[in-house]
């Protein structure tokens, strides 16, 4: 059985590799084009779009890295992503704990309300949110974006965490209570550490979602000082419209954190997305 399996595919994998290479080229060519293009003169981009640069121009990359605005946007994106994640996961864990381990009147109704939140498209709420944030004076304030992102991240996070909390045996909680643990003590010192894999998954989802968010920062931030990376990229393209090589360099540098994070957290990201999609 096993022998047959191992010897059989050898003859047939070549066309499979060919297809995989073509698809891989479809994915990679744009990225490699951007990477190399960042090292080229603008005139060379059209005469020699695919080859290595004739002379490696590093100015495009070093200019971006030397500009304060790039690092400011990087900082803003990071700050917003981290605080969003802490709030989303923290609040969702507290609520998920109750939904998983306490029986009370109205629990199912409340939980359904949160799950229904999955059906509320963000775009539908953007106008009232804008008006609301303006009323509270939260425009051009990172908090405006953070709180809104956290609110919209709650449903999925609560669903995933509740499912995980449920799988932890009730005996552990009873033992902790008998030993004099308060509900919060149990939650903080026993449940959360045990749920570390689930916490990691939902955190990764929250970070990526916040990092890539565009629509909300677009309407909330008008001052350049509060821009996140996506807003900065869009603005940079407008500003240097004809300087393609410089935009490519900016794009490549903006990709680095996302791809680096992907390399580290790939397992959690894929696991979380597929679990969210298939199990709910």
């Amino acid at each position: 059985m096993i022998h047959r399996k191992k010897s059989q595919p050898r003859a047939t994998t070549l066309p499979l590799h060919a297809i995989a290479w073509i698809v891989g080229a479809f994915i990679l060519v744009p990225v490699v084009y951007a990477l190399l293009g960042g090292f080229k003169e603008n005139s060379e981009l059209s005469t020699n779009p695919f080859g290595l640069p004739e002379t490696w121009v590093t100015a495009n990359y070093t200019d971006v890295l030397g500009s304060g605005s790039f690092w400011l946007q990087m900082w803003n994106s990071t700050f917003i992503a981290v605080v969003t994640t802490v709030l989303t996961v923290g609040f969702a864990a507290l609520a998920g704990f109750i939904f998983a381990r306490y029986a009370f009147r109205g629990r199912e109704a409340l939980f359904t309300l949160f799950t229904a939140g999955l059906m509320f498209p963000f775009a539908v709420a953007i106008l009232p949110i804008f008006v609301l944030l303006r009323t509270f004076g939260l425009l051009d304030n990172p908090l405006g974006v953070i709180l809104t992102q956290a609110a919209f991240g709650l449903p999925l996070t609560i669903i995933i965490l509740r499912g995980f909390f449920r799988s932890i045996p009730g005996e552990i909680e009873e033992a902790a209570i008998i030993d004099g643990c308060t509900p919060f003590g149990f939650f903080w010192r026993i449940l959360l550490p045990m749920a570390r894999p689930a916490i990691a998954t939902v955190s990764v989802l929250a970070i990526v979602g916040s990092w890539n968010n565009f629509m909300l920062p677009l309407v909330v931030f008008s001052e350049e000082a509060s821009w996140t990376l996506p807003l900065g990229i869009q603005q940079f393209q407008g500003q240097y419209a004809s300087d393609t090589a410089r935009i490519l360099a900016y794009l490549v540098l903006a990709m680095v954190p996302a791809l680096g994070f992907y390399a580290i957290a790939e397992r959690h990201l894929v696991g979380g997305l597929t679990a969210g999609a298939t199990k709910g």
Binding site: L87, F104, I126, A151, F214, Q234
Partner: protein, 308 residues
């Protein structure tokens, strides 16, 4: 599980715990998700520029009748239909085929998987700006590539080619996501079933057609669901790539809404558009879950939501 009946003080403590733990999430959710959606529904019945507290100039369904009569809205719906059909008929089968390919034991499949999924992690803005440069008419990279075959295209700048170009970018960014869902679904199918079919003499195609495909049914239905819900709200990519142009030929409902809500300050009218988007998502979700996914759902609503 319910604890044994407790004295009043203990019960009060229990309720206190429940309230305190639920409160932060509930307040945030009601204030920034539920309330805004209700306000959007409310505001859609008013002529409102978004200022001065709640709207007062009630006009009933006028915003909706005006919306349904416009050429742009009809186009938005047409674009939605085109993108959904292209996704379901081309992008998803393609993702499924690649997932089946990567399910084979071929050398380096982990690397292929890693690469194919990578675009999903990049933001829509990075993707959009990158492809607006690559697809730029004239001397963009795509045209340099096509010139080998002696053809040239205006891509995003031509109303005739803008939708296929947009779809190409969407496929670049999202097929890896669907591929991953299919791979996860495939791995939940016990290999014994496939092997049994092979031992019985079924060809590879027959095994796929009669064993793998039916067992992947729930996964495929969810992937279609996510794809449609996402397309209804499509905004970021279109906004960056074309802004809805040239002359509205790639506009989506979300783009129209942003145009009217933020550029023209017709918040009431824009709210009507957002309500249509909402109702469309909701009706699709309910109908789809009722008739298509009913066998897959054991009492749970399954989506990962439009947010990503």
């Amino acid at each position: 599980m319910l604890p044994a009946p407790a004295p009043a003080a203990k019960r009060r403590g229990r309720w206190l715990t429940i309230t305190l733990f639920l409160l932060p999430a509930l307040v945030l959710f009601l204030l920034l998700v539920v309330a805004p959606i209700l306000v959007a529904v409310y505001a859609s019945a008013f002529r409102w520029n978004g200022f001065g507290g709640l709207p007062t100039n009630f006009i009933g369904f006028d915003n909706f009748t005006r919306l349904f009569g416009t050429e742009i809205f009809v186009q938005d719906m047409w674009h939605l239909l085109v993108l959904v059909l292209l996704s379901v008929c081309i992008q998803l089968p393609f993702s499924l085929a690649i997932a089946m390919l990567l399910n084979q034991r071929i050398r380096g499949r982990t690397l292929y998987r890693l690469v194919f999924f990578a675009p999903y992690v990049l933001s829509e803005v990075i993707t959009g700006v990158l492809f607006s440069l690559i697809l730029s008419p004239g001397s963009g990279m795509a045209n340099e590539l096509l010139s080998v075959f002696g053809i040239e295209s205006e891509f995003l700048a031509d109303p005739d080619t803008v939708m296929p170009s947009l779809f190409l970018v969407m496929t670049w960014k999202y097929f890896g996501f669907h591929m991953m869902i299919y791979l996860a679904g495939r791995q939940n199918i016990p290999n014994e079933l496939i092997e049994a079919a092979q031992i019985d003499g079924a060809t590879t195609w027959k095994t796929f057609r009669h064993i793998t495909l039916p067992l992947l049914g729930p996964t495929i239905r969810i992937s279609v669901f996510l794809s449609v819900i996402y397309t209804i709200q499509l905004f970021d990519l279109v906004w960056i790539l074309t802004g809805g142009g040239p002359s509205h030929s790639s506009e989506t409902m979300a783009v129209t809404m942003m145009e009217y809500g933020f550029k023209r300050s017709q918040v009431g009218y824009a709210s009507a558009i957002s309500v249509v988007m909402f109702v469309l998502s909701l009706v699709f979700a309910l109908v789809y879950q009722r008739f298509v996914m009913r066998r897959d759902l054991a009492g749970a609503t399954t989506t990962m939501g439009g947010r990503r």
